[in-house]
Symmetry: C2
Subunit: 444 residues, 2 copies
């Protein structure tokens, strides 16, 4: 029922000697996490979250989700980065990448405020037309440009549509526990609020209110999600080179050390597309610093076997793959018999798609191994809430360990400030006058 690391397709690529050599480094990294004495250790709240989360808030999240499900057709989640990737990944994983088209009686869920594209805003306004809306604005500070301007637009939209009094019942804010103008404003307005914990960064926040409210609104079982995470926490709590989190962290660092520069997360279910995006943020932002780290990329097979597959098989040999192998499919579909056998595939008639998909995976693992590409396989039982909670925790802990093995602070993101500072200057934010002048000379 847990996440297993299958090393079979690393044979010939990773030696026992390399594993032995990294073991003490991995042990030290694990200890930095567990003992809260590594860089960024004030941001380790996610480590024990599955057992010490706030029960009262959890109850309020479920109540709010119930109410939202009853009172709206469209639920808008306003957030960027870690404030939306986790929830979107979860809903697509648990339900479908086309959830909004097949949702039945569940509300439509859209994610806005994660870009500055006017078309994105405009498209969502079209979706909202004539429908009942609730919104969840998610921002620790309340001042991040993308979600902040989207919140202005949709708050105004709701207040025009329902009046200020009734709009208040439809606006939920997930923000700092006590500080900040968004919290202050929400209190004044009377919005129900939830907490972005102080000790959990955006990319580690999916199992907090940040992710849980939208996930619950889509009709997913958040108790099961946390139960999976808790079992993961318990399974992975002690150091050993057989601890799956340690193993994954160690293997990817060994491959990085032996010259690989790109890790490609591969899966065979389109429902995992956004989970791959969540994973890319988790690892890219945690490790991509100090001029080092693996570049995290993703592919969806078998479709991308007819795209990046060529590169993976035959291009520059600087890659390895991490494959998520989901054992049981949510759906059963079999290949029909065709009396004309137009495609010559009657030998597949009656075969289950899940079985064919699994054989496509084995076929690809062997082909890519033969092409010189190491493959780590992560085995997961199914697409249930329990399994997803397990997987989220598995990746979070693996990432923290991996970052410490690499020698970086896995909990900061200093590089995100550079564009923000330039953007404020170019936009004429008060206080940035000097920097503005300098930049305007450069872009001339």
């Amino acid at each position: 029922m847990s996440v297993k690391v299958n090393e079979k397709y690393l044979e010939g690529f990773v030696s026992q000697e390399e594993i032995k050599k990294i073991a003490p480094i991995a042990k030290e990294a694990f200890s930095l996490v567990k003992n809260h004495n590594g860089a960024g250790s004030s941001m380790l709240g996610w480590l024990t979250l599955p057992e010490d989360y706030n029960r009262d808030e959890f109850y309020r999240i479920k109540k709010a989700a119930e109410k939202i499900r009853k009172t709206c057709d469209v639920f808008l989640v306003i957030g960027i980065g870690g404030s939306y990737l986790g929830a979107r990944a979860a809903i697509e994983f648990l339900k479908s990448p086309i959830y909004n088209s097949i949702r039945g009686n569940d509300p439509e869920v859209y994610f806005v405020g994660n870009s500055i594209s006017p078309s994105s805003i405009s498209d969502i306004l079209k979706v909202c037309d004539g429908k009942d809306i609730c919104i969840n604005a998610i921002s620790k500070s309340g001042t991040t440009t993308e979600p902040a301007v989207a919140f202005r637009i949709f708050r105004e939209y709701l207040e025009k549509k329902y009046g200020e009094e009734k709009a208040r019942e439809r606006i939920y804010v997930t923000t700092d526990r006590a500080k900040g103008k968004l919290k202050e404003f929400s209190t004044k307005k009377g919005y129900e609020t939830f907490v972005v914990p102080d000790d959990i960064g955006g990319r580690y926040s999916v199992l907090s209110a940040v992710g849980l409210l939208p996930i619950a609104v889509a009709g997913c079982d958040i108790d099961e999600l946390l139960r999976g995470a808790l079992d993961a926490k318990n399974e992975y709590s002690d150091f050993s080179m057989d601890n799956a989190c340690v193993k994954y962290a160690a293997l990817r660092n060994i491959l990085y050390g032996s010259g690989k520069s790109i890790e490609i997360l591969a899966s065979y279910e389109p429902a995992l597309q956004m989970l791959s995006e969540w994973w890319k943020q988790l690892f890219g932002e945690s490790e991509g610093k100090d001029k080092k780290s693996l570049f995290p990329a993703s592919v969806m097979f078998s479709t991308d076997l007819h795209s990046l597959g060529q590169y993976i098989q035959d291009g520059t040999r600087n890659i390895f793959e991490t494959v998520i192998d989901i054992k049981k499919s949510k759906d059963n579909v079999t290949v029909p018999y065709d009396q004309f056998d137009v495609d010559g595939l009657n030998f597949l008639s009656g075969n289950d798609f899940n079985d064919i998909n699994h054989k496509a995976m084995l076929a690809t693992l062997i082909a890519h191994n033969d092409g010189g590409v190491p493959n780590i396989v992560l085995e997961l039982e199914d697409r249930s809430e329990y399994s997803l909670g397990y997987l989220f925790y598995f990746f979070e802990l693996s990432c923290a360990i991996s970052g410490y093995i690499l020698g970086v602070n896995p909990f900061n993101q200093p590089g995100v400030e550079a564009y923000k500072k330039n953007m404020f200057a170019l936009l004429g934010k008060p206080g940035y006058e000097e920097h503005k002048k300098e930049l305007e000379t450069r872009i001339k």
Copy 2:
């Protein structure tokens, strides 16, 4: 109105000397394309397609699209790789990434048969429930597993729903002009067919019937698309280092030669997400061979500035970016004034999102330059059909030139066969008995 290559953000990364040095190689590569004497030159049909396409077929495509738009609620496009990426990229670029949610009176369009996931099939069957359906099966050979099994399922579905006679009116097949069992079968059944040209590979086929029928069904103007491509063909027909296609091809090869291993295609409109996937297939499959080539990746800004942005700013310095800069947005949205100024962004009140988005781009270009990342900027007027046709042609020609500069055949994909062969063996296809035994020993 055309595609312009802006080199400003390459200053300090690419020297005039390097450009001089690559010029004769680029000239030779260009000549191989134009004179049809490079590797794979039998697959150059796309080069003159915008002027010598079959007018009768083009007329039939428009007629068929009109009929489909009148007779169905849901249009299913069955194809994998080049048989779906172009059309999907075009519809999202021209309409919206959430086209199906805001399509008005246009039919819903879904792409199936590009994976072996049973859930994908099952989800689409749910979408179809109670609605009128038309399908377009796209496959040169008719024997590619993923679309073939999906075609079995949806053909059977239509025949059950409408009867064989009436189903025939709802099935459109895009396949080989004359050869193959799918063509033969379609003729026998009386399906209307369109042609996958003999001299155009999947990833170069978007402006043939492969892409045009689905694009037209979504209500896009395919005359304008071809007009843009024709103008591009004329603009880029002669060699010069100022020819934008030559320039882009040369610059990316210079960066590759100077040690960059990843090219990240960046854009600021979520509508370009699938265009990036199309681009990844085009370049990844054309160049990813003989153990070389840039790895093509993509990001969507500003959302991914809060994800891979950290890596791009501060991680391993083995990357460069190619940014698509769309000058005019499709939509106008301005930032509302907020009397509470909760987010401190009142200095933006009344500002146009497109202007803010553009400043975010400039801010990021400078920040990434400062972080040591070269940026190629591709400027495009707008998200019109004309501009998209231009851009498709620009990338196709650039890719062919780039592949020849790199020294590979940009028109084959030998690496795609490896997984297919293994898959057929594991699935027990007659004739693969020996290979099956061998593989089964390996996976034990």
